[in-house]
Symmetry: C2
Subunit: 346 residues, 2 copies
């Protein structure tokens, strides 16, 4: 057990680009206040750094996502262990996933959105937040439920070498799709067409994405899984096949800026193409996470899903690791482990 | 029978705003060429003037809709009578709807997109193009199939006093929805909340649409049926409820301009709201037109659908009537009848 509660607070709203200075380190005494009815207190163990967390740092406003209050710990998905419970559904020692915050100990209210989900037996904390965590589950439900792909169709994935995108692309191959990935740089593209078995990859840093999509998808794109937005979304829309489905997962191209992500310039293409554009959150499918984890475990065991992880150790690493997401430099699911499986701080 | 084939040709691509000069009148000899296999020749009788036809006047390019070639008759939906057939599915005298063109006689190829659809017995040509024509069918299938509304939900319709929009709004009331219409001017708004029975109407010419939507839809918009696009679409997106559905029918606000219709500024709202945006064409449901017409006839007979028509008579009226669509001045479905039911020219 830790003897202090370490915290990373949101010190300032980012001005255009995220900086280390936007966060502030603090230590508090261990939380001792009694829990309110329904609350659960967690010892956080592994945090996921996900691009969408950048949106939560923006001011509260006209959006459907939460805004972290200034001076409060940064909100983040985490896995951890229940250390105190005033909720009959959870016992001390339970291993859970929840929407947590950057500190050793987080008290989670009883509302539905943050309701902790139990981690399946046989899965470590790191696996529960990484290989079988939110990003691959986002890939699984986003592609299969929102994208509704049919074998033989063409799938295009943006951010294809990323944590979510690479899983989307490989599930696409498992489901019999032709898969084209869009990623930044020759190394990522080579990994996609090599180890991951994609049919083609487009390097957005050196190629004209719209022109390459037109070449590679002569009958149009049936499913576009978008992690990026902006000009890449535009290029995909210009190449969608009639009745195409656009799975809106993220818009990372504009998170770390003052601009809101813009929609397509040519809305009539959506009308005349009978094209569907659908936003979603992984949490919409939380009742079916068990099914998703089981499928991912089976494909992993069969060597059909290649997975990369960028695992950092130590509470001090949190802000720096998170910022790395927006440089395009990281490879694989970005995790920060702040305690070992027994709860000893790192 | 006419003794010449009158035509309105597309003379020039509109420069920003549509003008009468963009069309050119010509008379040809009656078409006498033998039909190719599968072709059908029609005597056009009633034309629908639909806003989306404005898009067909733009240059061919990166879009999924057709571009009328310069010097050729303007393309338009019409009903008429088969006067010659090289297609075993159609006999001389058959009354049909098809994608036709601004002339007395149109030879329709055998491809699926333009395949003529027979008009049900007991429906006049004017009714087949108006009250039971493409616009109300667009409303029927767009709202019910694409929008998937549930009784008790809130429906917002833009262009609500228009031919399609007013039918959408009234079908919404029939299906037990709370319905808010957006229209231009107090007369249109009064018609919507009076005769049509809507719960509320917003006059976009004098009111702040986003603010009024927030007031009128405190739990958010469940279904937004959009005929307009632009800032009105933006205002609706800012007020969508989680899991909301946006039915993309048209984007009239930007048709008659050099600008392509722009998508939303805040795509992350679609992601975090799990919002679906779906384009569609009425023709996607052509196999089910009979069902739609039957429902519309039943509701009309029961006095539950109020319908307005702006019927012009005479081939010479075509371009002027069409241009009227973009001034916001017309009320009701805009039809031009160029021959009587027997085929005598008007």
């Amino acid at each position: 057990m830790a003897d202090v509660n370490r915290q990373w607070l949101l010190r300032a709203r980012p001005q255009k680009h995220l900086r280390l200075d936007d966060f502030e380190y603090r230590e508090e005494a261990l939380p001792a206040a009694p829990l309110a009815d329904g609350e659960v207190r967690l010892r956080n163990i592994v945090f996921l750094c996900a691009p969408t967390m950048r949106n939560w740092m923006d001011p509260p406003g006209n959006s459907l996502y939460p805004s972290v209050p200034l001076g409060r710990p940064m909100m983040a998905p985490a896995v951890g262990r229940v250390v105190a419970s005033a909720n009959p559904d959870y016992a001390v020692g339970d291993r859970v996933y929840t929407m947590s915050s950057w500190q050793d100990y987080t008290t989670v209210p009883a509302n539905a959105w943050r309701r902790p989900t139990r981690i399946a037996d046989g899965i470590s904390f790191v696996e529960a937040m990484g290989r079988y965590g939110l990003n691959p589950l986002t890939a699984y439900f986003g592609l299969l439920e929102v994208g509704q792909p049919k074998a033989g169709e063409t799938l295009v994935v943006s951010g294809a070498a990323g944590s979510t995108g690479s899983t989307v692309a490989q599930i696409g191959k498992i489901k019999g799709l032709r898969v084209v990935g869009i990623a930044g740089g020759p190394a990522k593209c080579a990994w996609l067409t090599g180890e991951c078995g994609l049919d083609a990859a487009i390097d957005y840093k050196s190629e004209n994405v719209a022109a390459r999509l037109a070449e590679l998808c002569p009958s149009g794109i049936n499913v576009f899984f978008d992690n990026v937005g902006g000009e890449i979304l535009q290029a995909a829309i210009d190449n969608m096949a009639p009745y195409g489905r656009i799975v809106l997962c993220g818009q990372i191209s504009s998170y770390d800026s003052d601009e809101q992500p813009r929609g397509p310039r040519n809305m009539m293409r959506l009308v005349y193409g009978s094209i569907r554009m659908q936003g979603f959150l992984c949490g919409n499918y939380s009742a079916r996470f068990g099914e998703g984890v089981a499928a991912l475990r089976e494909w992993t065991a069969a060597g059909r899903i290649h997975y990369r992880e960028d695992l950092h150790s130590g509470f001090d690493k949190l802000p720096g690791a998170f910022i790395k997401l927006f440089s395009g430099a990281n490879e694989g699911t970005l995790l920060v482990q702040i305690a070992d499986e027994t709860g000893a701080s790192r």
